[in-house]
């Protein structure tokens, strides 16, 4: 009984900020609450869920979100590892660069997204300035579906690579230097050392970084909301942006809750699959 009492504060907190909103959303997803109902809640059963399953935009956004997360996290891991390796070497001014390298991550996303929107601006942005100075016609970076998608990835990679680099740098610092010395004396080259020692010993850190970043990227909202607003023609729209639009633009709160829950369930499924795969990999090894 006393154990329950001791856990009570944490349990109450979890109930208040996690379980209760979830249940509330579950309830809301079974209601119609929109301009058509005069913002009154009207029970509609599974109508919202039926609509979700048939909603092409939801599934398209799910695919786009997944593609955005996978591509940007993959790029961040590669760039982050390269930067971490560089910052792990000894050279003059390394300390300064280490702190500077963190700046993009410290910047509020909205602020940096505004910055990138200006960089990609057609025709006045700096990037188009470079294009024009080369004697070419300006490029509508944010108005073409393919280029706009690339722009969201570029901005996300720019902002969160420092976070990945920092995590991996911490991992690199855990690897004893004498392993590399022993390896060199055995005839190994630095490149072989990276493959045979660094990467295997860094694996837990790479896994953690990928997990953190995937969770964040799958829920991406602020960057896309500010940079492209999900456009053009919802080509960069993520699930979180779609849920936001449903609530705040279409004033369809019931369906917005359904989209959010749908996204939650997809993530849960993905996480379960990942855990299962890892457990199997561990048993195999």
């Amino acid at each position: 009984m006393s154990s329950l009492l001791l856990m009570a504060p944490a349990l109450l907190l979890l109930l208040a900020v996690f379980v209760w909103p979830l249940l509330d959303y579950a309830w809301l997803s079974l209601q119609a609450q929109s301009v058509f109902t005069g913002l009154e809640t009207v029970p509609v059963g599974a109508a919202n869920w039926q609509r979700l399953l048939a909603d092409g935009r939801f599934w398209q956004d799910a695919g786009q979100t997944l593609r955005f997360a996978l591509v940007s996290v993959a790029l961040e891991l590669v760039a982050g590892l390269a930067i971490a390796l560089l910052l792990h070497q000894r050279w003059r001014g390394r300390g300064t660069v280490r702190s500077l390298a963190l700046l993009p991550w410290a910047l509020p996303t909205t602020v940096m997204a505004l910055g990138w929107r200006w960089i990609f601006n057609d025709p006045h942005g700096p990037l188009n300035g470079v294009v024009q100075s080369l004697g070419l016609a300006t490029v509508p970076f944010l108005a073409s579906p393919d280029l706009a998608w690339v722009a969201t990835v570029v901005a996300d990679v720019w902002k969160t690579t420092p976070f990945v680099a920092l995590l991996l740098l911490a991992g690199l610092q855990m690897i004893p230097a004498d392993l590399y010395e022993a390896f060199a004396l055995e005839g190994g080259t630095p490149w072989q050392g990276l493959r045979r020692i660094t990467l295997p010993l860094l694996r837990p850190y790479i896994f953690i970084a990928a997990l953190f970043r995937l969770a964040q990227a799958l829920g991406v909202f602020d960057l896309i909301a500010v940079l492209t607003g999900g456009g053009p023609a919802s080509s960069t729209e993520s699930l979180a942006v779609y849920a936001y639009l449903n609530a705040m633009r279409f004033l369809d709160f019931g369906y917005s809750a359904t989209v959010m829950l749908g996204m939650f369930l997809l993530l849960l499924l993905g996480a379960a699959a990942l855990l299962l795969w890892r457990r199997q990999a561990e048993v195999g090894a």
């Binding site: 004893p176 004498d178 392993l179 010395e181 022993a182 390896f183 060199a184 004396l185 055995e186 005839g187 190994g188 080259t189 072989q192 045979r196 020692i197 295997p200 010993l201």
Partner: protein, 334 residues
């Protein structure tokens, strides 16, 4: 020694900023010989190894291995193997993979790898541990794996950096003869760094004493004990420590604790202050007009007892107080 030296250090210097870590080290190690580098911590002994291995740069001087100048070669191209103090085993690889990785890097064909692996596992009794990870091994087992890895390198020179310092005292004593047998089995010279003189005396053919980045003396354990070249070596080699008695003429007389004898007249008057009994002998701490004295004897002196101690002239070492250098050469033989 008529054999050509297999390793030769000529005026080796290593500096960090203005500070000289190594200051002109000259040393020769013959083929098949095991040399111990002995000194207090911070004397530069590990740096000597690291410079020879190429892990630290050599700022001045030359390193000759079998007559070839390897001073500025990268570590991978020196054919030097090293057993690290931490053992530096690859934590993510099994014992087997720890041992074969180097051969794989050097392009040894798989059949030969398997053969050499089997031979070294046998030699060091590691057969049952092939599939274990380093974290699943005891300290002594890890040391054997590190040694096996170094042997598989087929080195022209074997370097050991305090390989026993992570083991408990009993295990160290057990392993000493083993290590000696394995090292003397090879043709390659070996340099064994340690701060433990018992270990140095037990394993090495010769001992080089290092202090403040300078070589103090290099010789057999007997030579160092009976004929120390200066005050530092006299005080560093031998436990319990040598008695040093400053004289009025600017010299210091050194006399080993076991060379003191009770005399009826003359000698130094002393009083017994404390006593340690070691079974085969007892260790007395005495008070005298010239300061505390250590005496190893097998008598039954009691605390507080007063007596007179002397020594035979042949056991006396004499040093110049200011420079520490040895005067004359008595005490050549015990």
């Amino acid at each position: 020694m008529t054999k050509t030296a297999s390793l030769r250090l000529e005026g080796l210097c290593r500096r960090i900023g203005e500070r000289a870590i190594l200051d002109g080290i000259n040393l020769e190690v013959a083929a098949g010989e095991c040399l111990a580098l002995l000194g207090p911590s911070g004397c530069g002994k590990s740096t000597v190894l690291r410079v020879i291995a190429g892990l630290d740069p050599c700022d001045e001087g030359r390193i000759l291995l079998d007559g070839r100048d390897i001073t500025h070669r990268p570590p991978a191209r020196r054919r030097v193997a090293m057993v690290f103090q931490s053992y530096a085993l690859y934590p993510h690889l099994s014992v087997e993979r720890n041992l074969t990785l180097g051969m794989e890097l050097r392009g040894v064909p798989p059949e030969q790898r398997e053969q050499e692996l089997a031979a070294v596992l046998e030699l060091l009794q590691l057969g049952g541990l092939r599939r274990r990870r380093p974290a699943q091994l005891s300290g002594g087992q890890r040391q054997r794996v590190a040694l096996a890895r170094a042997l598989l390198r087929k080195p022209q020179l074997m370097l050991l950096d305090e390989p026993m310092s992570n083991l408990d005292a009993q295990l160290r004593e057990e392993l000493r003869p083993q290590l000696r047998a394995i090292l003397s089995g090879g043709r390659a010279p070996a340099i064994h760094v340690t701060h433990d003189q018992q270990e140095a005396m037990g394993i090495a053919d010769r001992i080089a004493v290092l202090h403040d980045g300078r070589l103090q003396q290099c010789g057999t354990p007997r030579e160092l004990y009976h004929h120390p070249a200066n005050l530092f070596v006299a005080g560093f080699i031998g436990r319990p420590q040598i008695n040093l008695l400053p004289q009025d003429d600017g010299t210091v007389v050194g006399i080993r604790p076991e060379h003191l004898v009770a005399v009826d007249s003359g000698g130094v008057p002393v009083r017994v202050r404390s006593r340690e009994w070691h079974g085969a002998s007892q260790q007395l701490l005495l008070e005298s007009a010239q300061g505390p004295l250590r005496w190893t004897c097998d008598g039954n002196q009691e605390i507080g007892e007063e007596l007179r101690l002397g020594w035979e002239p042949r056991h006396e070492h004499r040093f110049r107080e200011a420079s520490g250098e040895r005067l004359g050469s008595p005490g050549r033989h015990a």
